[in-house]
Amino acid sequence: MPSPRADVALLYRRAGFGAGPAVLDAAQAAGFDATLEKLLAGLSAPDDHRPALPHLSSYELISRNRGGDLYGQSVDLAAWWVEKMATTTTPLREKLTLLLHGQFPTANSKVYAPIFMYQQNETFRTLGPGPFDTLTLSLAKDPAMMIWLDTASNVRQAPNENFGRELMERFTMGVGNYTQSDVREAARAFTGWGITDHSGVFVQDDSAHDFGEKLVLGHRGDLTGEDVIEIVTHTPASARWVTARMWSFLAYPVRTTDPVVTELAASYATDLDMTRLLRSILGHPWFLSPASREGLVKQPIEWVAGALRTFRLTAASFKKMGGAGFLVYALGNLGQIPFDPPSVGGWGQNEYWLSTATSVAQLDFAQSLVQFADLSPIDDVGAGSRVDALAELLGIDGWTPQSRAALTHVRHDIPSLAALALTAPEYVVN
């Protein structure tokens, strides 16, 4: 039976980016339920640690081709967010923000306006914990999303289907729950939506909007984009899709037909409240099941944020190697750069992250980062208990005998011990 401490450690890994001994001592004393409530309260509490936002050019300047080094800004922004994950005092909010980035994947490679990527990121942070329909509507009118899925150029003369389709397929319902006719009709409802030329704010151009009758998922009328968002987010299919996605991100991958989805989708459907959904997932007995404990390989962003948190590193720690640029280069080799998902489908899970190329990247980056790490917590303990102290520091339940034996070989070489521990299967799998 896993110990109460193992339960709160799992909670901190999934609902955050892991936690060290002091935090877990307090969590264990408070108990699982109280710890979960504390993490949920953090969804709306101020973050006590906020790294300084890098300079991001205004859209006004970008639209006049005077945005400066936009690629550099996207790198700084990515490093800023990973650093925020590593240092936040409200970890569940940053975790939810990361999961929502995976749910509404948008890439700066097409948007090419880091300021808009930041705006969207803040929307995840502020509206993510609330009702999913409100969040989805806000994202539908979000400039990054409107550029990413071409809503901004969708006009009634011959609508483009990009946003209408991905809204249903990826964001709210899943494939198989709508027809091509629904996609076409939804696309008509979003015609005329755009952003203003130089300020980049949402605007509806009535002359480009199709005011005719539409039929979407059985709802007929002069439907607007707002109506379509309302319709799709309130379908039973959407309750299942959103619940399955969040369960898959936090516990283990499931299909929409899984019994746990059926159970949790019913309560989510009452008001689409994401905080309620998070509470029901993280508080579910199956969240603590063996399937869940072994159910997820850390995403590279989680792995890096966890390592930075453990060893008290920031992007500036890597100044000698290039700072933010080095951090983002490493993330690139690991296969996941914030604000740069491969497509509107986002990233995969588990096996998707495992390749011989990422094994090289992981071992390399682990060895680089320990050069700048604060290793005092394991330096201060005697060599005899150092390997176990490192497991505590990393917020995992301990080592298998084989890993302990292997790591014991390097107990006197503290940086190497720390680097190798980060690559251990016990750490890479949550």
């Binding site: 899925l149 071409d150 150029s153 969708n154 006009v155 009634r156 003369q157 011959a158 609508p159 483009n160 289907e161 990009n162 389709r165 397929e169 990826r170 494939v175 091509q180 996609v183 063996p290 404990r293 072994e294 159910g295 390989v297 690139g332 080799n333 296969g335 491969p342 497509s343 509107v344 489908g345 995969g348 588990n350 096996e351 998707y352 992250w353 495992l354 390749s355 011989t356 190329a357 990422t358 094994s359 090289v360 990247a361 071992l363 390399d364 060895q367 298998t400 084989q402 292997a406 790591l407 070989h409 390097v410 070489d413 190497s416 190798l420 690559t423 299967p425 016990e426 890479v428 799998v429």
Partner: protein
């Protein structure tokens, strides 16, 4: 030209690989690359023993617009329904049959003229999905049923041993087509620099790492996968790095930009010329989901692709393994016949597959889909099942019985 089938294909299709293999060996020793004029059907691949042949899969993510890649510029309907994005008839690179290549594809045109480019037209599958992810999943698994998790080459890996060098994806992730139920391809970073392929680690630490990543009884599935992947990295990275470090990457004319795909194909070229035992490689390119502003985006992407493929093929010239390399370029679907008012096209169906290589039998395969008789969503109707393309390369490049990996027999095309 419709789907040509000669005696060799017939034999391979009917009797499995045994016949084809024997026949190829009996032809061994011919000089690779010597294609007689007009002799496109007698490609020099017949000269290369099966064991020396190499497959390279190039996946275009997003759904490349086939109608603006191989352009039916003599069809008045094309110009009519795509008035805002149609290629100008005098700008395309004519191929015959009323078709012409996108103006950005000058190297592809040279390959066509040299009979080293096969264009398979009208490729698709029944009941086409307009979802990127569902359609790509179908292409990756080689199955339309939705309940097959293994990749079509992954199944070949599953059944042919444990050596992770047999297939290699360039980039951080393994191409799903190359992931089986138990085996998957190795992966190398998209860098032509050997240093990126090998961890910097002291030998004594490597021993500890090896011990840390040794299979353990009682591990969960993912912990076991982490460990086995790390172990495979240890057994492959030195070889990959050595190969990449000893062969220069392809070179580009001044001012030519081939993008990430150029780097990736460069790595593949290095590995092929280093005589790696790898049978199948994969590279990827994204950005083809052109719902708006298609002409500018696609011509830029096709320009990079063209530069990358041109340099790749040139770099293989004069190399034995290089001459036996077949590059297959595909995407999850084509795009809607009618353009939209955003200057783009929405998701479509049937598409072209491009097959390139010094030993490819150039020409058209399959029929050009009608722009008049469309499906109920205004999309092209396919006439070649995509698994015929797979069957062809499984039989004549990989050298196995295709039916064993595709679930049934599909007509083999004659492009290799």
């Amino acid at each position: 030209m419709a789907t040509p089938m000669n005696r060799r294909e017939f034999l391979a299709g009917a009797a499995g690989i045994g016949a084809a293999g024997v026949l190829h060996h009996s032809l061994g020793g011919r000089v690779a690359g010597a294609v007689p004029a007009g002799g496109a059907r007698v490609g020099p691949l017949a000269a290369a023993p099966l064991a020396e042949r190499t497959l390279v899969l190039l996946t275009l993510y997003g759904g490349n617009d086939g109608l603006n890649t191989v352009v039916p510029y003599e069809d008045p309907r094309y110009l009519a329904v795509r008035s805002n994005i149609a290629m100008k008839p005098d700008s395309v690179l004519p191929l015959g049959d009323g078709l012409g290549l996108n103006p950005a594809m000058v190297n592809f045109k040279s390959l066509w003229d040299a009979h080293h480019l096969a264009i398979v037209r009208g490729v698709g599958y029944p009941n086409p999905s307009l979802s990127h992810f569902q359609s790509m999943d179908i292409w990756q698994t080689g199955s339309t049923s939705g309940d097959v998790a293994s990749g079509w080459l992954g199944r070949w890996l599953d059944r042919t041993g444990a050596d992770p060098l047999r297939a290699c994806s360039v980039g951080s992730q393994v191409l799903p087509a190359m992931a089986g139920e138990v085996r998957k391809a190795s992966a190398v970073q998209d860098s032509t620099d050997a240093g990126a392929q090998l961890p910097y680690v002291a030998p004594d630490l490597l021993a500890v790492y090896r011990e840390l990543q040794r299979a353990r009884p009682g591990d969960g599935a993912y912990e076991a996968a982490v460990a086995s992947t790390a172990a495979e990295m240890l057994s492959t990275s030195k070889e990959f790095a050595h190969a990449i470090g000893h062969v220069p990457p392809p070179t580009y004319p001044k001012g030519v930009y081939a993008g990430d795909v150029g780097t990736q194909l460069g790595v593949v070229s290095q590995l092929i010329r280093a005589n790696m035992p790898t049978k199948a490689y994969s590279v990827t390119m994204s950005g083809f989901d052109t719902h708006a502003g298609e002409v500018g985006t696609q011509s830029q992407l096709l320009g990079q692709l063209d530069a990358a493929v041109g340099a790749f093929v040139s770099s293989l010239a004069g190399h034995r393994r290089g001459a036996a390399t077949t590059l297959v370029i595909y995407t999850e679907f084509g795009r809607r016949v009618d353009s939209n008012a955003s200057g783009g096209t929405d998701h479509g169906t049937a598409n072209v597959v491009l097959v390139v290589g010094p030993s490819v039998r150039g020409g058209f395969y399959g029929e050009q889909p009608s722009l008049k008789h469309l499906d109920q969503n205004g999309n092209l109707v396919h006439n070649v099942d995509f698994r015929s393309v797979y069957a062809t390369v499984l039989a004549h490049v990989v050298g196995v019985d295709p039916a064993a990996f595709l679930g049934r027999r599909y007509p083999v095309l004659g492009f290799v």
